[in-house]
């Protein structure tokens, strides 16, 4: 999950944030890390670029991107599917 955190920081230009600042279960949006709708779209790009996962239905977004843990689980599930 710490790799994923670094990738999120790089993708979203969160320059002053360190991977250890982001809790596994901390909400990423609004009250948590304060991400917004454009960040959500960038996270979709991240999944595509780093994990070749295409999130085609944007309704999935809120659940997948709730926390780093939910994102990691989503990635794992998809990698298992593809291998």
């Amino acid at each position: 999950m710490s790799d994923l955190k670094s990738q999120i920081i790089a993708q979203l230009n969160l320059q002053d944030v360190k991977p250890e600042d982001i809790g596994d279960d901390q909400p990423l949006f609004v009250e948590g890390l304060g991400l917004d709708s454009i960040d959500a779209l960038e996270l979709i790009v991240l999944l595509q670029q780093q994990y070749q996962i295409k999130l085609s239905n944007s309704d999935e977004g809120p659940n997948v991107f709730r926390t780093v843990r939910t994102m990691a689980e989503y990635i794992k599930a998809h990698q298992a599917q593809n291998s």
């Binding site: 230009n13 969160l14 320059q15 002053d16 960038e42």
Partner: protein, 208 residues
């Protein structure tokens, strides 16, 4: 229609130096531009996570506005809709347009696309300070102080705005310049009369 208004403060960012009211307040060694702007951001101790996500035009304008409004400006004097922005430049959002275009070959970046409009920098400054008044972005070949003077004077004369941030924010590759001016009705310490001549002098960093 004579102007009885004042430039309360100015901020010019040009050639790796930041000037406030004509005096240098920061000078950096860094190039390219984003490194320079981030180093200035850190120098002044600003805390605004969104800064890093902005494109170069956004960073340049945001930083210039931050320095322009530091010390002296009290936004509580005005209602949000009484403060507006009138900005201009030569290259619109071309700097980011080309960067965005580079990403299209791979996976287009939504975060970059958002900045492919020049007036997003007005949005960034408005969001930061809660300004909700009239705002406009003009594209012209060079800084037209006469136009800015006329345009802003009318906005204030007609009570559409009570205070206005106006000027020039332009970036294309290595070339950049910001020159922002805070225009208010009341005379304050260090303010100069709001005239095209004074705008041009401050823009060109000439005294007198």
């Amino acid at each position: 229609m004579s102007s009885a208004y004042y430039i309360s403060s100015s901020c010019v960012i040009s050639d790796r130096v930041i000037y406030r009211n004509g005096l240098p307040v920061f000078s950096g060694e860094e190039s390219p531009l984003p490194d320079l702007l981030i180093s200035a951001y850190r120098h002044f101790g600003y805390q605004y996570l969104k800064f890093f996500k902005m494109d170069n035009l956004g960073k340049l304008g945001w930083l210039a506005a931050e320095i322009l409004l530091s010390g002296g400006f009290d936004k509580n004097r005005y209602r949000p809709e009484e403060v507006g922005l009138v900005l201009s430049n030569a290259h619109a959002s071309l700097d980011t347009d080309t960067r965005y275009y580079e990403t299209v070959k791979d996976i287009p970046s939504p975060a970059l696309f958002v900045y492919t409009l020049p007036n997003i920098v007005i949005g960034e400054i408005s969001i930061r300070h809660g300004f909700k008044g009239e705002n406009a972005f003009f594209v012209s070949e060079s800084f037209d102080a006469g136009f800015i003077e006329h345009y802003v004077t009318r906005l204030v004369n007609n009570d559409i705005l009570q205070a206005c941030i106006c000027g020039w924010v332009d970036v294309l590759g290595d070339r950049y310049k910001a020159a922002l001016f805070l225009v208010e009705k009341e005379k304050r310490e260090n303010s100069v009369t709001f005239t095209a001549k004074n705008l041009n002098n401050l823009y060109a960093l000439q005294n007198g």
